[in-house]
């Protein structure tokens, strides 16, 4: 795992590096530390890491520009910031975790644990996905997403206006940051609960999920009970 740390305070950066080594140990293949946003941007363009640990306040400048940029990438971002009042705003971008300073080793363990966690995010704070098309980033409101389909190392985002876009994060990574209103119905699908119109039985133990008249998605057996229960609510 390649990790990039963006932090302007010397001692704090040292602490992050030390604790990350202690926690992730052999999983780490490379740790890089930069203390400016420009350097971070350059590095991410050249070779995106697997995990970004980002401080939102660097030399008096806020890091939201960088966050908007990185949210479209394939890797997860964990914010480590002194400004805990900024947590909600950061979560809206779909960050994996927000670690307020000062932080203990335990808190970092908890944050890193989320990388491997299969459960969807328990908080419902992500508001939009940032998608990069032709070098430009675009915010997609979660309300407009019908479902997400796995496409190898990418995901396809189907919108309620019959368009679809491609996101760099895998379906698994998206499932970690999307709120519980997006449910797994199949190993390749994450569906927005609010667009499900009905379940159709199309054969023995075979079901499909209908999202209006034009979208019909397969529903795997092991998700059937969960979907039924959620729809009953």
């Amino acid at each position: 795992m390649r990790i990039l740390i963006v932090e302007d305070a010397n001692t704090v950066a040292k602490r992050i590096i030390r604790l990350t080594h202690e926690i992730l140990d052999t999983e780490i293949t490379d740790i890089q530390w930069v203390d400016t946003l420009t350097e971070a941007k350059d590095l991410i363009e050249k070779s995106p890491p697997d995990l970004l640990l980002l401080d939102l306040n660097l030399h008096g400048k806020d890091g939201y520009d960088l966050l908007e940029d990185t949210a479209a990438h394939s890797f997860h971002t964990i914010i480590i910031s002194a400004y805990s009042d900024q947590a909600i705003r950061a979560f809206e971008y779909g960050v994996l975790d927000f670690v307020p300073k000062p932080f203990s080793k335990e808190r970092l363990v908890q944050a890193f644990h989320r990388i491997k966690d299969n459960a969807t995010q328990t908080t419902a704070l992500t508001k939009f996905l940032v998608i990069r098309t032709y070098g430009k980033t675009e915010r997609i409101d979660l309300k407009n997403i019908l479902y997400v389909k796995a496409a190898g190392s990418y995901s396809e985002i189907y919108l309620n206006n019959d368009k679809y876009l491609t996101h760099c994060k895998t379906l698994h990574k998206l499932s970690q940051i999307l709120p519980p209103t997006f449910i797994r119905t199949h190993k390749s699908y994450l569906v927005n609960l609010k667009y499900i119109t009905q379940l159709l039985k199309i054969g023995d133990h075979k079901y499909t999920i209908e999202l209006g008249p034009s979208h019909s998605l397969p529903l795997s057996r092991n998700h059937l009970e969960k979907v039924k229960k959620l729809m009953a609510n």
Partner: protein, 597 residues
Amino acid sequence: MQKILKPILSWITVSIAATILILVVLSVYFSGHSKNDYRPHYTFLESTFKSGDNLRWADPKWDDSSWIIDSPVTPLSPLIKNTEGMYWLRYKIVIESDEHPLRAKTLLVALNGAFELYWDGHLLMTNGNPAHSRQEEQPGQLISSVVIPNSLYTVDTHLLAFRISSHYRGPHARLYPTISFHDHETQFSQYQLGLMKQTLPHGTLLIIALFYLFLYTFYQRKIALLLFSLLCLSESLPFWNDWLRLFYRYTYDWHSFFIWGSTVNYYILSLLLPAFLLQRFEVPHKCKWSGLLLCMGIISWFLDPFPVNRALYMLGGSVLISQIISIWALLKKAKGSALSLIGISCYTLVYLENTINGEENIIPYTFGFVALILCLLGSLTWQMRQERKSREKIIRDNAQLEANKSRLQAELLKNKIQPHFLMNTLTALMEWFETDPQIGSKFVDALAREFRMLSEVAEQTLIPISKEIEICRSFMEIMNYQQKTQYELSVSGFNETDRVPPLLFHTLVENGITHNIYLSNKITFSLKKEYLGNSQRYVLIVPMEETATNGKNRNEPHKTGTGLSYVKARLEESFPGKWNFHHGPCKEGWKTIITIT
């Protein structure tokens, strides 16, 4: 809404006041004569004088051809003046007509003396008891009246013989009687009306006098208020004296005392009016004005033998000076000066009218004075309003200053609990506790020193420059623990006594450290003081480095922000209007120049 209503309300108030005043003045002018009123028709033929005493001289048939007849050639006044003991005066009068023979007629006599009056030989009235010697004389009243029996009051020629002694007379006493005939009913109603007309303005003046006396005593010890109160009191005093005369019917021997009283009162009034205006408009050279008034007092003393007339000359001069003061105030655009000039002008008019027409008509004069007082009242009210406004402004400004001070104090402390500094510092502490407790405790030491100094200076507006430098260096030490770069501060040109607002340079140094990215291991900030003529200036140079990554300077120092507004607010607080803040890039980096003149 209130902004529109307020001036409307003011105008309504002024209009109502003016209307009431005009109505009062008009009603006073046009009231006074009813259809029922009647004035007897009579003519004085001649008056003759003889010193000595003989009761037979009352007889109309007595031959008085040897007596001295009053004429411009032989005026009686000096003769009477030189007469010791008793003397007689005989008046021949003609009652020309009598439309109302049944209505009672009154004879009114004003005389400084005791007398008996014989009407065609009949004793009509006595006033006191005339006698040959001072011991025997019983003084009579100054003004006395008697109802003439209808049987005596006939259309004919009559003889009025006065048997007089005046041992108690003063130097200016009137020694021959002023005689007038009146219809009893008419005189009674006229007398009542006159009394009412005088009571109204004088009562008003007395109330105003008392009110301003209270204001002076309990509200504001301002000499103008006291002078104003005395001015009103002084004008109304003679009337209350007349009023008193109705209850305590004093005899003529007291009269000169009252004449002197009245004279003194007029002189006082003449001084009070300009004195009030001098105080009211804060006119300079009060001594010179006082000298001028004194000169006028002396001159007026020699203008007339009669004391009250002297005082009236003095009053005339005083009115003139008051006019000049008011015009001066108007030219200086003093608040309320126009109103005061209008009042003085009204008063001047009635004063001139009074002087030309004699003292007969006291009522317009009194109302003229009331007009003056009302105008001065308006002027005073205006002044009090201005004073209240400026007082309120001072209170507001003070509150603003206090609020500013608290805001700056809060900002000073907020700087140290702002999350970026505090949380990074705490994180660093955590790290040292886990890896190198020794550095950790040294760091805590430095941090404690910084906070101690901050709490020392937090409530001050100016601190010694040495303290400020110490705080800067202490902050740099804290940063040195946390960052790769080591910071230093070089200072030059300071005096021990130099004082600056707390955290003035600290804020700039902190900005420099926070907003710059340094690659070197050691960075030195420089702070120096320079003198330029009368002004002194502080120059802080924050080095900037070109970075390796993109060749150009990435370090855009932020131009505004709370830091700089704090610095500027502090400078304004301690050196209001006398400071200048300038900053920009220079060869060495970023230069900040604070000039204090």
